[in-house]
Symmetry: C2
Subunit: 460 residues, 2 copies
């Protein structure tokens, strides 16, 4: 691991943290950070405050230089005009990293950008790396550390997982980690890149590419600095790890909004899309799409091809979903004669439709096992690369699918027709069996088309 990467390792795994701008005032960010780190159980927290000697039970210090211990990481939430001086203090103290939460720099104009440059060069001269300004910081469960707002305010797991997230939007990565950890997804690390006066998306991309813990990368991005390096790295990393990106600022008004958000300019959509495709990046355009794709990539093996088989008891949904498959670039698998024979034996002659899509009819109301049995037959068909089952969330049907899934080798996604009172229980039940559940068949098809596309890229 080169210097850049070992510096990032240090930032994700600090032994001690100083909160500069800590507060005990109810409703202040300074209190939120302090309280959150204590709640999560991070061991060494040193609040810095101009007057207080003790904060929420911890000794507080007037200045960073007064802290009588080594400090690996500082989180700054003081006013913009004090930031540069505090960075100088941090440098003298010999820290490894600084997260600048404070906003009001580059995104506000040229003056702000100039200060950012000074901050970065001051830090770098002393071998310190900076995340931000305008950053919500990082989440690293294995370090029992989060500086992301939702994680600070509520409980967030310290179990590690395979998803690495980096984002130009702090709230994006904040909500993403908060919501998805509650749904069973586990992260290796997550980072809000902020204005990138020093460390930028390209550094985190490189880090996650090499990080042994991280197997899937997800990201919300606006402008990308060092575009060539970013795409060269992505092209290599994609060969082993999927990279799912929601790129904001694809339209002119979107790019204008990005300018006032992180101060970055964005290029044209056509160029981005072409570059994403060449680099094997999975491109999405909303929070839900990124989550849907993540579920599918998180739970499923890669398909061998793009030939899908669709099963449901709902004839109309089958027809509409077939349209969705074709429009997403998938192919409806042509079932083998053996499959047709086996399905003909299995399914009632009336009300069903033997083929792809397979309509297993309202007979499933009284014979829910038809779901699992049909899926097992389709799984054995050499012409089928992946499976989608659309069902109502009665336990009998989901149980039948979950049982069948134990012997199914091909990627299988499920769409449940969501009844509010059953939804979460059935989703959880299937998620525990590692079956991704997408609430709408069109969304399932979208995510499956993305994993098929990615599998093709990986094959080269």
């Amino acid at each position: 691991m080169d210097r850049n990467l070992s510096q990032l390792e240090d930032i994700f795994h600090p032994r001690s943290i100083s909160i500069i701008g800590a507060s005990t005032r109810e409703g202040s960010f300074g209190r939120m950070f302090l309280q959150g780190l204590i709640r999560m159980g991070f061991p060494k927290v040193y609040p810095v405050h101009p007057r207080d000697k003790e904060m929420l039970g911890l000794p507080a210090y007037q200045n960073i230089k007064d802290i009588p211990y080594d400090v690996d990481l500082a989180v700054l939430m003081t006013s913009p005009r004090d930031t540069l001086n505090i960075v100088k203090d941090c440098a003298e103290k010999g820290m490894k990293g600084i997260i600048i939460f404070t906003a009001g720099f580059g995104e506000k104009g040229a003056d702000g950008k100039e200060i950012e440059q000074e901050i970065a060069s001051t830090a770098r001269q002393q071998g310190i790396r900076v995340i931000g300004p305008n950053s919500l910081g990082i989440y690293c469960p294995s370090s029992k550390l989060t500086t992301l707002a939702q994680g600070l305010m509520h409980d967030i797991t310290d179990e590690s997982g395979v998803v690495g997230a980096f984002s130009h939007s702090g709230s994006f990565v904040d909500y993403l980690t908060y919501i998805l950890t509650r749904k069973g997804i586990r992260f290796s690390k997550a980072v809000s890149c902020g204005n990138e006066c020093d460390l930028s998306a390209v550094d985190f991309l490189e880090y996650f590419g090499q990080d042994k813990e991280t197997k899937i990368l997800i990201s919300y991005l606006e402008g990308i600095k060092q575009g060539k390096k970013f795409f060269d790295l992505a092209r290599e990393i994609s060969k082993e790890k999927p990279i799912i990106i929601w790129k904001g600022g694809m339209t002119e008004p979107g790019a204008k909004a990005a300018l006032s958000h992180t101060g970055s300019l964005a290029g044209s959509k056509q160029i981005w899309e072409a570059m994403f495709k060449q680099a094997g990046i999975i491109s999405v355009s909303s929070f839900e799409e990124i989550v849907d794709c993540l579920y599918v990539f998180y739970s499923l093996p890669l398909p061998r091809g793009k030939r899908i088989a669709v099963v449901s008891a709902m004839g109309g949904t089958n027809v509409g979903t077939t349209d969705n498959c074709i429009e997403a670039g998938l192919e409806m698998a042509k079932l083998s004669n053996l499959t047709i024979e086996e399905l003909t034996k299995l399914l009632p002659p009336v009300g069903t439709s033997i083929g792809n899509p397979a309509d297993i009819s309202v007979a499933t109301l009284v014979a829910p096992d038809l779901y699992g049995e049909t899926l097992k037959i389709l799984d054995r068909d050499e012409n089928v690369d992946m499976l989608l089952a659309i069902t109502d969330p009665g336990r009998a049907c989901t149980q039948s699918i979950a049982d069948a899934a134990k012997t199914i080798n091909k990627p299988l996604a499920v769409t449940l027709f969501a009844l509010p009172e059953l939804e979460s229980a059935e989703y959880e039940f299937l998620a525990q069996q590692n079956i991704p559940v997408l609430p709408d068949a069109k969304r399932a098809v979208f995510a499956l088309s993305k994993i098929a596309e990615y599998a093709r890229y990986q094959k080269g």
Copy 2:
């Protein structure tokens, strides 16, 4: 109301129903229908069974002709080969309508189509109208009547509302009514058209167009019989009532699937899309899209134009959502100078972005009222036609939005970042204030673009 329509009135409001093929066997459809009608409280139910004299507490009859009372509607679930004879019996009995649940006719080939024709002509000669075969029947809350499977198996409300639904897929209309009634939407009537040997989608379109109770039409369709009549009717009805249609079989494989589903052929996508557009029909392509659009049309007034203002505390989501707006054909409203002044006074100077989208920043964590105040300012701006607020589902934020909504005149939709444990409570809270909540901003933008498009059609 002409004869056709008064005949449909009779079918939706029968005074008595005979279930031909009723059963007491656990897990049979015959039992499901019988039990469901009794549970829902439909007053006069006459089961017909070859041997049983009593079924679930009701007197049973060997033949329809043995029933000593007038029977308005028959539901048939006997085998296909008996169907024609039973229809003849029904005709002799002087019924008004027959729902044929039995499948295995037109969708199985030419022979089946021929029997369907015989059934239809036999019935019509006696002035009886037929729904089906291969139909799940109807839901008419004001008659305390449902023959749809989910409604029969579970409780479904008998409160009436403004949504009329007709569908070539029984399961579609079944799930739609079942799920949405649980979420607070109320239906006037819903019908599963089945194979349309007699009554078809065009009849139900015409009926709902004239029905005083129905204000919004939704439909899943495959092939459309009497296409010219359908679109002529739709063009007129759309001027007063929105018609939301999910058309299955838009692609060749989808059309092939439709052929084995309802036996209908479907035309090319380009032709359908063009005809939908000319007729002011709102075209969607999944279950979720139809539900999202329904929520928006159900809850919101029509916008004056397509200029949207977006508000959130999430800068990145704002940027990405701006892209979604542009790509869906909306315009980002250009805020007036007064609005900019008022927002500048209201919002903190740092971390926010004054403009459209308006980024009201993490400051909302400590000052949630910024949501409501910002929305009220944007609502007053003459350049803004509709509003989208994207928020986390903390009650403080949703309360602020709900309070503001009381004085807001323009269409306002909300996207909540869904935390599993808060989701339903906050959705329900906002839904009760008649604020449609869409779980993803891209979906909200899609539905808002459809209501803007429809408003333009209505203006002519």
